[in-house]
């Protein structure tokens, strides 16, 4: 099957569809930018969104290209083992619902660090939280950019190395415009539009796949198993992670990172500030759980459908990590390569995937540049003396810088599976942010030293282990396949780095000379549970 030529015949259609999305979202961005007057508008969209709107926007932020392209690819190649991503990604929302969303909404203003620094010394805690926010967001950005790269390679043919880079550059430029011009209000509406498109596109493909198998799940599974060449092992756990003792540990590590990471993702946490009250924040999480749950159930049909209808060989030939399984499936469902129907459906699904990538990178850029401006610039560098205008201006500059860093890094990372990269972002979030957040909210004795220790220990452990893991060197699909300096055998650091984060926070607190201020904890607790004095 010659993917490149069949796709390029109808490249115009893809360009038109994508152009419509870009123009529509730029329109929204300009409109939102006109309404953005103060810092609360820029960082929190004026706090005026409804629970349903924010639920859609959360889903939009969360159902990234990594979920759509990465999970579908992982299921198509590794069968059941790919499904673990979906389950971990969903169950994780209960942590956010039960422990984090409402207290955060009640006691913070713009960033995650607002809550972490609430009862601590501002500068050290905000510095730590700001750095970890930016690191997590860059890992996550990288995953999205890699997804964008794979998609372009598929659509334009493998020879389009230059075109691929131009696309990554264009994605980067667009995300900076969304954030700098539209702020949180613009970004939120982009998420909402994208969430609706993604759900519609996924639902369409799910129905088409199931229709081929008479809406009989067992029949689809059987077809996928026999097309995979692995038989019923394809439907059982173990193909990717059950090979050796090490891969089994990797699986547990991944599982931990997924389930504990969500409630520590800065770009998800700032979403809770866009609604007026904690109760609306709760409603938005409930909507998000419903929408995201249905979406991940549909990834099953997409992944197994791609395995059955496209086949692992074709998928691997197009992208070794499986990132193009979903668009290939779309082409197949439309009538196959070379057919008009195939080209149309491929174009539609590719445009949806691009929309997804754009929206998620905008959300990530916003969260990290907001943290840079509000935490590092206003509170650490200027010691709280920056005006609101200066703070927002520095956020816009930071958006440009973060966009540039993400573009540069993503050019090197295109062989990695987008879902696996996102799992690394989750591991860092679960190790550095979640322990600090939970201790801050629920442990009275927790103090500045504890907060700084858990953030840095979790962050440094996770990042160090990743650098010396097969993700970066020593493997066929590593970032640097030609050198080998790995000594940590797991791909995901969560199993080690999450306990290290929790332990460091506990030890740091006990070893510090300072005592936690009971009055500040009383204030945090009363505010977080009752909404008294919430912004």
């Amino acid at each position: 099957m010659n993917l490149a030529s069949s796709a390029s015949d109808h490249r115009t259609l893809i360009m038109i569809l994508f152009g419509v999305f870009v123009l529509a979202t730029l329109g929204i961005t300009v409109w939102a930018g006109r309404q953005t007057k103060d810092a609360a508008d820029f960082y929190a969209g004026g706090r005026g969104f409804t629970g349903f709107q924010n639920g859609l926007a959360i889903s939009g932020d969360y159902m990234s290209a990594a979920s759509f392209l990465g999970i579908a690819g992982a299921i198509a190649l590794f069968g059941y083992d790919g499904f673990l991503y979906s389950i971990g990604f969903l169950v994780a929302w209960l942590v956010a619902l039960l422990l984090v969303a409402e207290p955060l909404r009640n006691s913070g203003r713009y960033t995650m660090a607002d809550v972490l620094a609430f009862r601590m010394r501002q500068r050290p805690v905000r510095t730590a939280a700001g750095i970890s926010t930016i690191v997590v967001s860059i890992f996550y950005l990288l995953a999205q950019m890699v997804g964008a790269g794979s998609l372009v390679a598929l659509l334009l043919g493998v020879s389009g190395e230059g075109a691929k880079r131009w696309t990554i550059l264009a994605v980067g430029a667009l995300m900076v415009i969304y954030v700098a011009v539209g702020g949180m209000k613009g970004t939120t509406w982009v998420q909402i539009v994208k969430a609706v498109l993604l759900i519609a596109g996924t639902a369409l493909m799910t129905v088409l796949v199931l229709a081929k198998y008479h809406f009989n799940l067992s029949e689809l599974l059987g077809a996928a198993a026999s097309a995979s060449g692995k038989g019923s092992a394809f439907l059982e756990p173990g193909l990717k992670y059950g090979v050796t003792g090490t891969t089994k540990l990797d699986f547990i590590s991944l599982g931990l990172a997924l389930v504990l990471g969500t409630a520590g993702l800065p770009h998800i946490l700032v979403r809770f500030y866009t609604v007026p009250t904690a109760r609306t924040a709760r409603k938005s999480v409930l909507w998000a759980i419903g929408i995201i749950g249905v979406f991940y159930l549909m990834t099953l049909a997409l992944g197994f459908g791609a395995a059955a209808l496209v086949g692992p060989k074709t998928i691997k030939a197009s992208n070794a990590a499986g990132n193009t399984a979903a668009p290939l499936l779309a082409e197949q469902l439309g009538g196959g390569a070379g057919s008009t129907g195939g080209a149309i459906l491929l174009a539609v699904i590719s445009a949806v995937a691009f929309a997804t990538i754009l929206a998620v990178v905008a959300g990530l850029t916003l969260a990290s540049s907001a943290s840079f401006a509000h935490d590092l610039y206003a509170n650490v560098i200027r010691r709280g003396k920056a005006s609101e205008k200066e703070e927002v201006a520095s956020a816009k500059l930071a958006a440009v810088a973060i966009g540039a860093i993400a573009i540069l890094l993503s050019i090197f990372a295109d062989k990695l599976n987008a879902a696996a990269l996102v799992a690394l972002a989750f591991a860092v979030a679960a190790s550095a942010n979640l322990p600090t957040l939970l201790y801050s909210l629920f442990w009275k004795r927790f103090n500045t030293v504890g907060a700084v220790s858990s953030t840095y220990a979790g962050l440094i452990t996770a990042v160090t282990l990743v650098i010396f893991s097969p993700v970066v060197s020593g493997g066929k699909n590593s970032l640097f396949p030609h050198s080998d300096f790995h000594w940590f055998t797991l791909e995901n650091p969560g199993l080690i780095s999450i306990p290290v984060g929790f332990l460091a926070g506990w030890l740091g607190t006990l070893l510090a000379k300072e005592q936690a201020d009971p009055a500040k904890y009383a204030e945090l607790e009363v505010r977080s549970l009752t909404g008294l004095g919430a912004h």
């Binding site: 039960l98 059987g222 059982e236």
Partner: protein, 125 residues
């Protein structure tokens, strides 16, 4: 958005020590902590079974649907159920109490700290 009136720290401590607040915290933690432990253990059980009991997980239930898939779908079901359960619990048990405490405190502001009989001794940490 106008900033709400600043509340003096002592009044927060007084609210925190009030029996109403202690009860609200008890209702919140009494639900959130054990349920979190429960679904994390259930999830962990699923992950460990996938790793170390592939034979059991591969047992066919109906057609090509095996235990692994059924347990995976059950993780979805339990997540939806716990979310709905919490929404009901919070609406019935947490929200009314939180509203009462907040309204009581706001009524006493900003003129002076929350005026409420001191019950600090009984409600000590």
């Amino acid at each position: 958005m106008a900033r709400p009136p600043e509340t003096v720290p002592e009044s927060f401590q007084r609210i925190e020590e009030s029996p109403e607040f202690q009860q609200l915290r008890g209702s919140f933690r009494g639900f959130a902590f054990p349920v979190t432990a429960g679904f994390l253990l259930w999830y962990l059980l699923y992950v460990l079974l996938s790793c170390y009991a592939p034979g059991f997980m591969g047992t066919k239930v109906v057609g090509n649907v095996n235990v692994a898939l059924v347990l995976g779908i059950l993780q979805f079901v339990s997540t939806f159920a716990i979310a709905a359960w919490y929404a009901r619990y919070a609406g019935a048990r947490l929200d009314p109490a939180a509203d009462r405490i907040r309204q009581g405190a706001e009524a006493a502001l900003p003129a002076q700290p929350v005026d409420r009989p001191a019950v600090a001794e009984e409600a000590a940490e």
